[in-house]
């Protein structure tokens, strides 16, 4: 299928972009990499009146280190090698879509799309990261713990533009791991887990089998078992609830073991 008609706007500055969002509100959609939005347009699952293409906004392809975090601009692509300095992103990014979709798909777009089966929202949640937004009303930073509401739903308002995603740099001596099980490479994972270990702490985040990336409070002695006891996955066409629960058990143990091995 093909997209329904829309008005196309291509702002060159943040100010122009947020003015368009202020004017059109939820009638507008922000187009970044388009790797989730354009399929939805093609299938007419969404029919925005206005598309605001931010690909030519100045400086949106910046990646910088500031205040203990890697900060990636709104059009930094998933294939951007500057992201690989973060060990968790380096492990998770190859699972995001495919070679050609990563060339175009953006980090901020994937985060803001908030698919519960997407890798980057899960990593942002585990790390305690954030998104930085700008609107005609001002700027704010939304912590990952306040960002994801449910399937494809965030607390970013229709007039707000995500201008940066914020990835806290690895803590000294900590180990990080990302594990996913998908039926084919690049498909949405049936289950995914991110873990961080260090300083006698253990952090575990779970994706795909929940409605948003979810931090789990696991028993350090039996992480997989205690994680599986906390979730009630819905079975689907590809996997029964029991199978998904077993994936949680196995992947949590696997990610925790890897993170612990990698911790100094």
């Amino acid at each position: 299928m093909k997209p329904a008609p829309f008005r196309y706007e291509r702002p060159g500055t943040v100010e122009e972009a947020v003015a368009l969002l202020a004017e059109h509100g939820d009638e507008a959609k922000v187009l970044a990499g388009g790797q989730s939005l354009v399929p939805a347009l093609n299938m007419r699952l969404v029919r925005p009146a206005v598309l605001v293409d931010i690909n030519r906004v100045l400086l949106f392809d910046n990646v910088r280190s500031a205040d203990g975090a890697l900060r990636a601009g709104a059009t930094v692509r998933q294939a951007d090698s500057r992201l690989l300095e973060h060990p968790l992103l380096a492990e998770a990014l190859p699972h995001v879509g495919h070679f050609a979709t990563r060339n175009r798909g953006t980090v901020a777009g994937s985060v803001t799309h908030a698919d519960p089966a997407a890798e980057l929202p899960l990593c942002l949640t585990l790390l305690g990261g954030a998104v930085h937004t700008v609107s005609a009303r001002g700027e704010r930073e939304i912590a990952a713990s306040d960002l994801f509401v449910s399937h494809f739903t965030t607390t970013v308002e229709p007039d707000e533009l995500v201008v940066e995603t914020v990835w806290p740099t690895p803590r000294a001596g900590w180990g990080y791991a990302f594990c996913e099980f998908a039926q084919r490479r690049g498909d949405y994972g049936l289950c995914m887990v991110a873990a961080a270990a260090g300083d006698d702490e253990l952090h575990v985040a779970l994706g795909s089998v929940v409605d948003r990336p979810t931090m789990l409070d696991v028993d350090p002695e039996r992480p997989g078992e205690s994680a599986a006891a906390q979730v009630e996955p819905w079975g689907n066409l590809h996997a029964s609830a029991g199978y998904l629960t077993q994936l949680v058990r196995v992947l949590v143990d696997r990610a925790v073991n890897l993170a612990r091995e990698r911790a100094a």
């Binding site: 299928m1 196309y8 187009l31 050609a100």
Partner: protein, 152 residues
């Protein structure tokens, strides 16, 4: 309607299109370059993959208006003067196709991979092909062909 100026396989085109026109349909219907194939139109099959400013992208997930000012390479641009290039020759020698519908997209993605230099490992090539899983099969000779082109 919006103006689009692009260079495709070294030739410049200027057209006026609806913003909702996909780059895949622009190439096929507006410019008549039907070597770029359209399969799923949601980014999964990879048949429509072209190079946009040197990197492989899905033309079905890109609006034609977004390519304004860009350089595009399609499968038609690979065989300069009608001679198969090294990658195409390797596909020929390895019989690296079954029905061939998805081959143009695989060739363009592999062109991007090979342009990054070095010799990709088989696992990297298989990862690349995960974005081109189409209707038939026959992936082993495709991996062989890309490996051969990389070593040639």
């Amino acid at each position: 309607m919006t103006g689009v100026g692009v260079t495709v396989n070294g030739k410049h085109y200027r057209e006026t299109v609806e913003p909702r026109l996909l780059l895949s349909d622009f190439l096929r219907h507006t410019l008549g370059l039907t070597g770029t194939h359209v399969g799923c139109e949601h980014g999964v099959c990879g048949a429509c993959t072209v190079l946009l400013d040197g990197v492989a992208v899905r033309s079905c997930l890109t609006l034609a208006v977004q390519s304004d000012g860009s350089e595009i390479e399609t499968v038609e641009g690979l065989a300069a003067d009608g001679e198969l290039n090294g990658l195409q020759q390797a596909f020929h020698e390895c019989s690296a196709l079954q029905c061939g519908f998805c081959t143009p997209g695989i060739l363009m993605a592999a062109t991007d991979l090979l342009s990054r230099g070095g010799r990709p490992e088989r696992a990297q090539i298989e990862d690349l092909l995960s974005g081109h899983i189409c209707r038939c099969t026959g992936y082993t000779p495709i991996v062989d062909a890309i490996e051969k082109a990389a070593s040639g």
